[in-house]
Amino acid sequence: MSILEYNGAAMIAMAGKDCVGIAADRRLGIQAQTVSTDFTKVFKMNDNIHVGLGGLATDVQTLHNVLKFRMGLYELREEREMTPQVFSHLLSTLLYEKRFGPYFVEPIVAGLDDKNKPFLSSMDLIGAPVQTKDFVVSGTCTGNLYGMCETLYKPDLEADALFETLAQALLASVDRDALSGWGGVVHIITKDGVTTRELKGRQD
């Protein structure tokens, strides 16, 4: 049993034309037993940054609170909002500080930088970051997620098409994974705001 597979998760973030989307499943389980079908794994940190935290649920919630605390301090001291790149670095250093007793979370960051261009990054549980132009995935079915993304992804999709692509990629991937699924949520972020939609999927 891997500690990263204890609760279950599936997450994707994708870049479109001047927009980003981030999607996650809704399941919270304790190994085989499903406990909640509305567990939040994607968090809005500010108008330009969403973070998806997949892994051990207690660390998901704790890390979210730690990030809120750190972002709050940054905004008070610097009198400006954090950009996604800065946030991603902060997250990376936070995770590495716990190098020998890590948070069991593998996060993905999605946002729009100060020029409203898409920003995507993901990292492992000790903070090794990776920045991409197309998509990032995380969770208990990353094999499925990578396959679906490689197949369905096209660059420069508009917000509505990006939503469809994200939704289909997520739903198809979680069906073959016992630990993720039970619905989904997709956030599409543009410079004008965030649109959030719930997905209807197989409830098993």
Partner: protein, 262 residues
């Protein structure tokens, strides 16, 4: 006589005084004035902007008003460098409380934390006290809007209206006569009613006019700050723009002009 007992913070004088603390308080009486007024629907803090040189490039939004957390802010009178340390302490405390309890820190607890930190510099270590006085403005669910004043000794108290910095005695005497009688209707029993934010702004400008005495009231010499609740009950921190400040100053000017006529 005081000479022998005033160089160490941690020693009482024979009269039972801590001279270093008193000297720190003196330092603040030379600083730019800050007025704080508790209104029915919010808090107003107004401060004197001392523009020392036209060449100064302002690094932050304000050198007087600082946000401590989403529901609290403070005004500073005294040594800005000392204040920066305390403001950071306050911000950390508010953040850590929220992290631990997932709830905003009660305003008095935040004030008390800063004050306890100040107090330790009057009792331990042989370091000098902080030369800063604060006006804290905050909102919490239990007690609503609150205004607190603190000084270098670490002492604090809650106020309906108060003044710190240069000429604070003149400001306080004006508040004593005008706070509560500045609202249009008084309660029948003659008890004092608090003004609304607009009324409090005008009163604050009046006080600054008095404490800034020789100099003419101008929008760029004052900083006006308000704390209120919006429609979704979120706390709003607002530093008035030059235009908004000028409107308040003009209203006060009109009031005092017509008062002279009657």
């Amino acid at each position: 006589m005081a000479r022998r007992y005033d160089s160490s913070t941690t020693t009482f004088s024979p009269e039972g005084r801590l001279h270093q603390v008193e000297y720190a308080i003196e330092a603040i009486n030379n600083a730019g004035t800050c007025v704080g007024i508790l209104a029915r629907d919010g808090i107003v803090m107004a401060s004197e902007r001392r523009i020392t040189s036209g060449l100064l490039a302002p690094a932050k939004t304000s050198e007087k008003t600082y946000k401590l957390c989403p529901h609290a802010a403070c005004n500073v009178a005294g040594l800005t460098a000392d204040a920066n340390i305390l403001i950071d302490q306050a911000r950390l405390r508010a953040g850590r409380y929220h992290y631990q309890y997932q709830e905003p820190i009660p305003v008095e607890q935040l004030v008390e934390h800063v004050c306890n930190y100040k107090q330790s510099y009057t009792q331990y270590g042989g370091l000098r006290p902080f030369g800063v006085a604060f006006l804290f403005a905050g909102y919490d669910e239990k007690h609503g809007f609150q205004l607190y004043q603190s000084d270098p000794s670490g002492n604090y108290s809650g106020w309906k209206a108060t003044v710190i910095g240069a000429n604070n005695q003149a400001g306080k005497s004006l508040l004593k006569s005008e706070y509560g009688s500045s609202s249009a209707e008084m309660a029948d029993e003659g008890e004092e009613t608090s003004p609304d934010v607009a009324g409090a702004l005008r009163l604050a400008v009046k006080v600054l006019n008095k404490t800034m005495d020789g100099t003419a009231a101008a929008a760029e010499k004052m900083e006006l700050f308000t704390m209120t609740l919006d429609e979704s009950s979120e706390v709003v921190h607002h530093i008035l723009t030059q235009k908004e400040a000028q409107e308040v100053i003009d209203q006060v000017e009109a009031e005092t002009a017509s008062a002279g006529d009657s």
